[in-house]
């Protein structure tokens, strides 16, 4: 039996959806101009940029969403399954700062940091996918890191991050574009990686986060990205982020309802543009901290919101995503461990298909690669938990006792040797279980640093065909030029 956890009763989910459908009619949803014509031809009333989307249309669009899909690695193998109760993890994304392990201060993140995160993530089986984890501020300000295109303006920052990740990883990528103009370059990059736009559509390597703005607003660029992704057949992941009490109702149930309305609206815009194109019921909901005005990612209520939002998506039979395994602490300390491990467990028990956020500290403002390897252990524990307790063999205990009698010599049994790896997750040395020896014990941060260094030293860059790399560079050069001209 797979252990699960459920916060919402089926009746409450139905009620949430009922009210979400009501919200889509009244007050309606603010939408970008790019989608208005398409909505109107589907019979939707749009006045002053506000669309009133009827339930019947949303239901029709929901029906064309694929119930599941796969992301593929560079070798063309299925690597991430979005659907059912499958649980995958990827690092948090788009941080601007990096925790310096020497000074323990947050400093501006750079290309070398993104590369290091990718290298570590590549080695850890706990992460089924990479993410475009940190902003490369060095490339933005124009240091010589993009080769001949050393003046990469911030406008192509999203593209540049994906460019870096694709060069250093074979895994699928969770990414996103923060401008309407930037998306096409990223799709072109992925198509070059896959071989062709058609191949990318058949075997997508990446999923794109697309965010509405709470409350009930699909901005110009959000609307645009939904349509472009739907037409390209590249998976989209809606990341609605109501902040309970700030940009959404203070009640958790109310925020889940708003999340549902924003996500249903997004799915409608998306499916109208490309019926059957893959899309994920995702989110990064959080509570609004009434002291700081921030979004506490480590709060248990934030985890509860992510769980409940995913439950609504699962109820509709859709692939799901959430934002967990992050902390509000500024260090990789006990708070970071407690908050991240707790939400990893809760997310896994909920059966969220993709859980983003590992490695993040300071409420998503800063990334720590040391935390990433510690989180990998929390994730492994969560993955072990959801495998549950399995029955192996004809009897539970009597057959083995028939062999050992009362000698207690279980360690010698061939079953012990055959089964312990399945029964136990064997942690890496980041987790200390050793008896006290003559060496002074070290703390987890120090052990994590050692682990990061080990993983980086063993890392081998994937061999990218020369022509693919040239295509990558051509796309980046073209987009950099376009951005320069636009500016």
């Amino acid at each position: 039996m797979r252990p699960t956890i459920q916060l919402l009763s089926p009746e409450l989910i139905e009620r949430i959806l009922r009210e979400a459908f009501e919200l889509l009619m009244n007050p309606g949803v603010r939408v970008g101009s790019a989608v208005i014509e398409q909505l109107q031809s589907a019979g939707v009333e749009v006045h002053d940029g506000v669309a009133r989307i009827p339930e019947s249309l949303v239901r029709r669009c929901l029906a064309s969403v694929p119930r599941d899909f796969y992301l593929y690695n560079r070798q063309g193998e299925k690597a991430v399954h979005y659907g059912g109760d499958d649980v995958n993890f990827d690092p948090g994304s788009c941080c601007v700062q990096m925790l310096d392990p020497d000074t323990l201060e947050a400093r501006s993140s750079e290309t070398r940091d993104l590369v290091r995160i990718v290298q570590v993530t590549e080695a850890l089986p706990q992460f089924a996918a990479q993410s475009t984890a940190v902003v490369c501020n060095d490339a933005v300000v124009g240091n010589d890191v993009v080769g001949s295109h050393n003046d990469a303006p911030s406008a192509i920052g999203d593209l540049y991050r994906l460019f870096v990740v694709l060069q250093h990883s074979d895994k699928p990528v969770v990414t996103g574009s923060f401008s309407a103009a930037g998306l096409q370059g990223m799709i072109d990059l992925l198509a070059a990686d896959s071989g062709s736009p058609e191949k990318l559509r058949q075997q997508p390597r990446a999923v794109f986060d697309v965010c509405p703005s709470p409350p009930l607003n699909w901005s110009e660029f959000g609307s645009h990205n939904l349509i472009d992704l739907a037409r390209a057949g590249v998976p989209a992941e809606i990341v609605s982020m109501p902040l309970a009490g700030g940009t959404a109702q203070v009640t958790l149930a109310g925020s889940v309802t708003q999340h549902a309305a924003e996500t249903l609206a997004g799915i409608t815009l998306h499916q109208l543009a490309g019926p059957g194109s893959p899309i994920v019921w995702g989110g990064a909901p959080a509570i609004f901290d009434m002291r700081t005005g921030g979004a506490p990612m480590g709060a248990v209520e934030t985890a509860m919101l992510n769980m409940a939002c995913a439950e609504v998506g699962k109820h509709l039979g859709l692939p799901t995503h959430g934002y967990l395994v992050a902390t509000d602490s500024k260090f990789v300390d006990a708070q970071a461990g407690a908050e991240s491990a707790r939400s990893a467990m809760l997310g896994a028990l909920t059966g969220i298909n993709m859980i983003s956020g590992a490695g993040m500290i300071e409420s998503l403002a800063c990334f720590s690669v040391e935390k990433l390897v510690i989180d990998a252990e929390s994730i492994a524990s969560a993955q072990r938990l959801v495998r549950g307790i399995e029955v192996r063999g004809e009897t539970l205990a009597t057959a083995m006792f028939a062999q050992t009698g009362l000698s207690g010599e279980f360690l010698k049994l061939k079953e012990t040797r055959a089964l312990f790896r399945q029964e136990q997750h064997i942690p890496c040395p980041v987790i200390d279980r050793s008896a006290r020896g003559s060496e002074p014990p070290s703390d987890i941060f120090k052990r994590a640093r050692t682990r990061v260094d080990e993983l980086v030293s063993k890392y081998r860059k994937p061999s990218l065909p020369e022509d693919v790399l040239r295509k990558f560079q051509a796309v980046v050069a073209r987009e950099a030029e376009r951005a320069r001209t636009a500016a």
Binding site: S108, G157, T247, R291
Partner: protein, 220 residues
């Protein structure tokens, strides 16, 4: 009699009760109380107290917002009379606010606007996704003392830098002070882009604005 009234005014702000605050303001006018005195000895004491309580963790953002709303209600009643008497409450300073280009998240910016306004600053709120040129134009038009740029997204923080550069280009600084805030903004970032100040929350922003004003006066 007046002390009692001032006490009730103070309490209406702490309670975040706009109807009560407006009623007390009307009563003060009916009783012939100097409206400026009503503000300074009554309502404003309440908003300062609320700020202090927030600072030490006893009050929370919804409480603080309610206090600011009550303050606004009282001022709305008193303002016409103050104008008539020429005893208008002197603005602590003129502040142009907006979110950075590309950023439509305005919750933090709105909090700052509310708190600063309740505390006596004159606010010119440009709304969301404001270009550097718009900031500059408004700052010139109203002869601003402070320009505040908010950015929630890590991707729009660069817009804060652009505003500061535009203020510099137009020769508005150092007379006009530039301040920044937002979830991902840090004092380090503020220093990096040459901002005159940064604050973590709306109450700190009030302190920051006051201290910049006193520095500005000292320099002048």
């Amino acid at each position: 009699m007046s002390d009692q009234l001032f006490g009730a005014m103070l309490q209406s702000i702490i309670d975040g009760a706009p109807d009560k605050a407006a009623e007390l303001a009307r009563q003060a006018l009916a009783d012939g109380v100097d409206p400026l005195e009503a503000v300074n000895r009554g309502f404003a004491v309440g908003i300062t107290f609320a700020g202090d309580q927030f600072g030490c963790g006893q009050m929370f953002l919804p409480d603080l917002l309610a206090s600011a709303e009550a303050m606004k209600a009282a001022i709305n009643v008193l303002e016409p009379e103050m104008l008539k008497r020429g005893s208008q409450r002197e603005a602590l300073g003129k502040v142009v606010l907006g979110t950075a280009r590309g950023d439509i998240h305005d919750i933090g910016k709105n909090l700052v606007a509310t708190i600063l306004s309740a505390s006596g600053f004159q606010i010119f709120d440009l709304g969301t996704s404001v270009t550097p040129e718009q900031f500059v134009a408004k700052a010139k038009e109203v002869d601003a003392d402070i320009v505040g740029v908010s950015a929630l997204l890590t991707t729009t923080m660069a817009g804060q830098k652009a505003v500061i550069e535009a203020l510099d280009r137009n020769g508005l600084r150092p007379r006009v002070k530039a301040i920044v805030g937002g979830a991902a903004v840090t004092s380090k970032w503020a220093a990096e882009i040459g901002a005159d100040g940064y604050s973590r929350n709306a109450i700190d922003a009030l302190e920051l604005a006051k201290s910049l004003m006193s520095k500005g006066t000292a320099q002048a």
